[in-house]
Symmetry: C2
Subunit: 437 residues, 2 copies
């Protein structure tokens, strides 16, 4: 059984980073300005590069024999590429080192010098993108979001496109504008139709987006890829290809998107920024939160390549969206479970590679906006404001249809009991005026 | 004036690689299995890594002082990032070295030992992807293609979407499946509607694509990027940001694409393969082939950020599509000028970055399918076969609607007089059965 209690001081019961978690991230620290690997435990990071420089490292981490350099690298790609067996063994070894009953007290727990170098308060480190991202793909697997947004445009009877229940609809996103939590979000300028109800001809203007929105999503990093021309087996996708999960805020400029997206899909309405949380949470840490996803009456039978043996193929992780106004008032504007998906990441990977498209280590796959069925469970402002019609009420007598300059959006997500929580930390970004450019 | 005559033997008048060209590529050679930089002259490559290891290299290439390592790197990214002034000076220095009147005969022309090591028959080298590609974006700037395909679905009156003349429509493509010329193309499997005319409900099957097509495009590599949150000035785009051009075949599975693409755009119908030609042709080599692009009556006034001072913003390069059957018969199925674009690459870059999206060195931008107005000038089989209705006649009593297994498609393109031609070499790929997987 995995250890449940740690000797590390001040691990709050509410911390996302209990000993049951052990996520992986990239940090710079007061003593080391070169980005390198770490894990988080309570309010501290455990510096894995420091550990890997200890002489008996390989006896504690035998699966990293001759591979200790992966923790000194500026991204987790080399570590991710080692595959899930290694990730599992490394996570278990870290859990042991952090346990009050560690089998190797001399390595860390009772080793004052290593402990002092390796255990660093989270407040003293800077987080970086955890992986170098090759390609980024954004799916549309949040059923209630797709249904809700489709209903706005086409009514409930035609809300879903004919392909929606047959395949995980997705599009290629932009990798260059993926930022780690805390990075500023500059409001994009773009071509917009200032008054969509005006008579023809529709004349666009160039202006800062007036409909800046968020999208609450779960993302998944690829551990090992597949060769071009081959496909990923849906029942082996997680074990063989998934490194771990992050939160994703796929910032969206609805007015830019509306004008540009026919017929080739979203472009400038999305590619100015995507924010991800810095810690990669492993499939092993999330395993016990698996459950069934959205079930739809009279759903057509799935094609063979999408049929999963395990019906518990999504995660029941409680997600939360906070909006902090420029004045500093924070309102929670959504709480929703990540189980509200109609396609699993394994199905997304199987579909993505059906035609032979290759995945590479570090590729990022996002779920699409996660919304529930209730009005307190929407993952985008577009749904909360019913297509721009209604204001979302905030604390402090304030309200929003879309985001104002100075607003900060913070996504959070976690599962599990206090003291054993598995969470993602923050996925946060503050909106700056387009005049900042 | 640039030199026009070379001492290199056997440079055929019809060669794409005259002394007026001097493209850049990545090769492995019989003597060096590490990919590295080269240029092409006639039927030879000139190995730039070999040159860069000569003691007096920096006196011939002063702009590469302390930068000679860029020619030993496995991609041209570091060289591209040095910017256009350096590319211009390096190209001029190479032209001088190859000229019968070279100012530095002792370095190469009269230096038997260096010449023997550096001048290698093209047939003896293997070409590789010229750059490590971060993000790939495919535009839709081929006006006659957009109009022709739009007419098929919606009739000529509504052929173009309302946004088409206002902004360069584009979508994010897949970088992981971009291959260099000569790489095999495995026919993708995918969800398709076997009989699109069948009664509802539309039931997809999973099968190898029956409508495998090509798209003739011109591509452009980014030299230096822009910072996130900034935009590229349309009038500085080429000088400050474009490294050079390649041919692109954006292989397309029309049946997969048709079923999947609403509402988020093409996905598996495109992401199985994109082929590019191996030599990056510089803007300087193509400068004298600039001309005006497609002009449209009553075109709405362009937004300021898209207005170019130079109206000669596209290239008049003659492109050609050859189809070789499994039996070995080759037919030229299209001849079209690359001037048939309504947006220039500078405009594409200005639009792409309008909202602050960052370009990075090595990003690839493709034009979209280039078609002319005549039936001999189509850049895709979809247009040649009028949406699958008509057969394209080939030599040898053969015909095609779409591609057969064993077919090879070869794109070629060049401009200029014999002996002074500036061309791209081949962009070629052979289709293999999906059973190859």
């Amino acid at each position: 059984m995995a250890p449940t209690e740690t000797w590390v001081p001040n691990v709050e019961p509410g911390s996302d980073f209990s000993i049951a978690n052990i996520p992986f991230g990239i940090v710079t620290t007061p003593d080391d300005a070169n980005p390198h690997a770490a894990t988080a435990i309570g309010g501290h990071v455990l510096d894995l590069k420091v550990l890997s420089s200890q002489p008996d490292f390989e006896s504690i981490f035998p699966s990293l024999a001759d591979q200790r350099h992966v923790f000194a690298a500026p991204s987790l790609n080399a570590f991710a590429a080692l595959g899930r067996r290694v990730h599992r063994e490394v996570r278990a070894a870290i859990q042991d080192l952090l346990s009050i009953d560690t089998k190797h007290p001399d390595f860390l727990k009772a080793n004052g010098s290593t402990r002092e170098k390796a255990l660093i308060p989270l407040t003293k480190v800077k987080m970086h993108l955890p992986l170098e991202i090759g390609d980024y793909t954004d799916f549309y697997a949040g059923y209630h979001h797709a249904f809700g947004v489709g209903s706005m445009w086409r009514g409930p009877a035609n809300a879903l496109q004919p392909n929606y229940l047959h395949l995980p609809v997705g599009y290629h996103g932009r990798a260059s504008s993926i930022f780690v939590s805390g990075s500023p979000i500059i409001r994009p300028r773009g071509q917009i139709i200032a008054d969509p109800t005006a008579a023809d001809p529709k004349k666009p203007i160039v202006a800062p987006s007036r409909r800046l929105d968020i999208e609450l999503e779960l993302g998944c990093f690829v551990a090992r890829g597949n060769n071009p021309g081959t496909s990923i087996d849906v029942n082996k996708a997680e074990e063989d290809h998934i490194f771990g999960y992050v939160l994703v805020n796929d910032w969206s400029a609805r007015d830019i998107q509306n004008w540009e997206y026919v017929p080739l899909g979203p472009f400038n309405g999305k590619n100015f920024a995507t924010t991800i949380s810095p810690w990669v949470v492993t499939p092993d840490a999330l395993e016990k939160f698996k459950c069934t996803g959205v079930e739809v009456q009279d759903r057509p039978e799935l094609q063979e390549y999408l049929k999963e043996a395990n019906k518990d193929n999504v995660f029941d992780i409680e997600c939360q969206v906070d909006l902090t106004t420029p004045e500093g008032d924070t309102s929670t504007i959504s709480r929703v479970s990540s189980k509200n998906l109609i396609w699993s990441f394994s199905q997304m990977l199987a579909h993505h590679t059906l035609g032979g498209c290759s995945m590479r280590t570090g590729d990022l796959i996002a779920s699409g906006t996660i919304s529930g069925t209730k009005s307190s469970e929407y993952g985008s402002l577009l749904e909360m404001n019913q297509g721009g019609k209604k204001e979302v009420l905030l604390c402090g007598m304030d309200a929003r249809k879309f985001l104002k300059d100075g607003d900060t959006i913070t996504l959070r997500a976690s599962a599990g009991e206090p003291g054993q929580k598995v969470g993602f930390g923050e996925c946060s970004g503050r909106v700056f005026s387009s005049a900042t450019r």
